[in-house]
């Protein structure tokens, strides 16, 4: 092999075709998946937290719900826990950019003759795929929280999680672009990720909140994904419409409840906006 005459592969055509950029997107996506599957510890520990919320917090708080309501608090919290799984995995994936910067690999990507948009898109798709996968794994617990394994429901939830995962990875990428040190990670978790989770309606219904809190829930992108997911779950469990409304008042703008489709459109729009912001940040000249 080594004896083969080595010729310099001459000058390749200049110009950037879409197909070439797709190669870069696919490779960066694939790298996310390879790194994820190699890190078995991460695969398991990132599921530990949602499981703890679902079965320890969920079971404990079930005691507070009056016995006659005929709905398990864990059923209520289940869509929230799916969102949490997606949130933590997606943000973690995005923030791995900071590790890449610290260990130098980011430079290998940034000096390559590839559009920054291709790099960012690959990263976001990779993080989204991993987060959706982790969320989908959580669906195995449906039976334990009285949610039926209905194909239509599972597919709906996976699709909604995928959309949320993409938006959150893009959001995390925007944060990571500004983060210089790995130490900032805890700050991001405590001051951005946890509030996003609690304000999303994942663990308590969002009506009858004080005004300042209600405003915060409306600007939390996760809210617009948790509500459609909970609606999908409630559509598949036996629950009176009144109770369903009490537990899931949904997102209202000016007193009108948003339809699920519009909520998902908001999530998608935010995702695209974040993606564009991330591309701009990584394209900034020195």
């Amino acid at each position: 092999m080594s004896a083969a005459p080595s010729t310099v592969i001459g000058v390749r055509e200049v110009g950037t075709s879409l197909g070439d950029d797709m190669r870069a997107v696919r490779m960066i996506w694939k790298r996310e998946l390879i790194r994820f599957t190699r890190n078995k510890v991460r695969m398991i520990t990132s599921l530990a937290q949602p499981v703890i919320y679902l079965f320890i917090l969920g079971t404990g708080l079930s005691q507070l719900i009056p016995g006659g309501s005929k709905i398990d608090y864990r059923t209520f919290i289940f869509p929230g826990v799916l969102g949490m799984t997606v949130l933590f995995t997606a943000i973690f994936s995005a923030l791995s950019i900071v590790w890449d910067r610290e260990f130098g690999f980011l430079r290998e990507m940034l000096v390559a003759p590839v559009r920054r948009s291709a790099l960012v898109l690959g990263k976001c798709l990779g993080g989204a795929t991993v987060a959706t996968f982790q969320g989908a794994v959580m669906l195995i617990f449906c039976g334990l929280v009285h949610v039926p394994y209905s194909a239509a429901l599972l597919l709906t939830l996976v699709a909604e999680m995928a959309l949320l995962a993409f938006t959150l990875t893009a959001f995390g990428t925007v944060i990571a672009a500004r983060m210089a040190q790995v130490e900032t990670f805890q700050v991001v978790m405590n001051f951005i990720v946890l509030p996003m989770f609690f304000l999303s309606g994942a663990v308590f219904p969002l009506d009858r909140l004080p005004r300042w809190l209600a405003v915060l829930t409306k600007i939390d992108p996760m809210t617009y994904a948790i509500d459609p997911m909970r609606r999908a779950v409630f559509d598949h469990v036996t629950i009176s419409p009144r109770l369903a409304h009490t537990l899931n008042p949904g997102m209202t703008w000016g007193g009108h409840r948003l339809p699920a489709g519009l909520e998902l459109a908001v999530v998608a729009a935010l995702g695209l906006g974040m993606l564009v912001m991330a591309v701009v940040q990584f394209s900034r000249p020195e």
Binding site: V8, R38, L106, V111, E286
Partner: protein, 342 residues
Amino acid sequence: MVQIAGRDVGPSQGGAAPVIEAVDLTKRYGELEAVKSVSFSVEPGETYGFLGPNGAGKSTTISMLCTLVRPTAGTATVAGFDVVRRRTEVRRQIGLVFQDTTLDDYLTGAENLRFHAELYRVPKSELDDRLHQVMDMVGLWERRGSIVKTFSGGMKRRLEIARGLLHSPRVLFLDEPTVGLDPQTRSHIWGYINELKRRESITMFLTTHYMDEAEHCDRIAIMDNGELVVVDTPEALKRSVGRDRVSITSENDEAAMRVLAERFDLEPTISEGAITFFVAHGEQFVPRLFADPDITINSVHVARPTLDDVFMTYTGRTIRDAEASGTERMRANPWMRSGGRR
């Protein structure tokens, strides 16, 4: 000032267009002028070395040529493309081996290279052969399936060299390719680089602050305080010093010192039990010394000038002294400062 003699003795006689051409290249960071109006050209197939202490501006220059840092003034072209206006084209023509490792520790050696191949659009039909070829060259083909985390520092550097070559660049830039490696690994790396020089018609541009490594280059540019002091072949540079280093031991050092100073008009110094002085044509001088009745010589050692002597001659200090004063001035590596956000 010294005549830049390299222009007419180097491989430039072929008349081919230079692969790298810098004209008045300048980089300022606020008050600090890291690179001061530097001009040079590198011919196809040449191994061109920037030699200088840490903080001399070598890395900043290489960063500008690699399109990672925008010059404050001046222009440069690499493979015919302007480094500011045609960045993507320049990047496609160059391979880079950085001072700090830029591998993904969690991927295998082969995966790191495949990743690179996708980013640099190596045609799929060529990829497998090329991958085998470059990994073989650095002796890592057998370890292609190992996770990079398990590699030693030298293996990582070799893998980076292989990766830098994977897309068949016109120019391979190596910024301090052996820094932080033990002497044995360093000499191995140089074995690979020399092999590469022999086998691929590739131009190499490297920086180093190790004198012995600069010897491997076809031409050396000595850089100090952001300026190019002199450019020439290692041999011509040593010749230009014009003096050999002569060390003698004698029966009576004091008398010998006096004779050398008074009768031969030299400036002898005593270090480690030997009298050392510099003189043109040392081998012709020694017989004259033996003929002198007032000196009884026990041993003689005549040495051609080293690159250390060259550096000393052109900058007035040793590279080690220069390092000591230069490090605090330009501690921050310009690539670290700007690389992350680009």
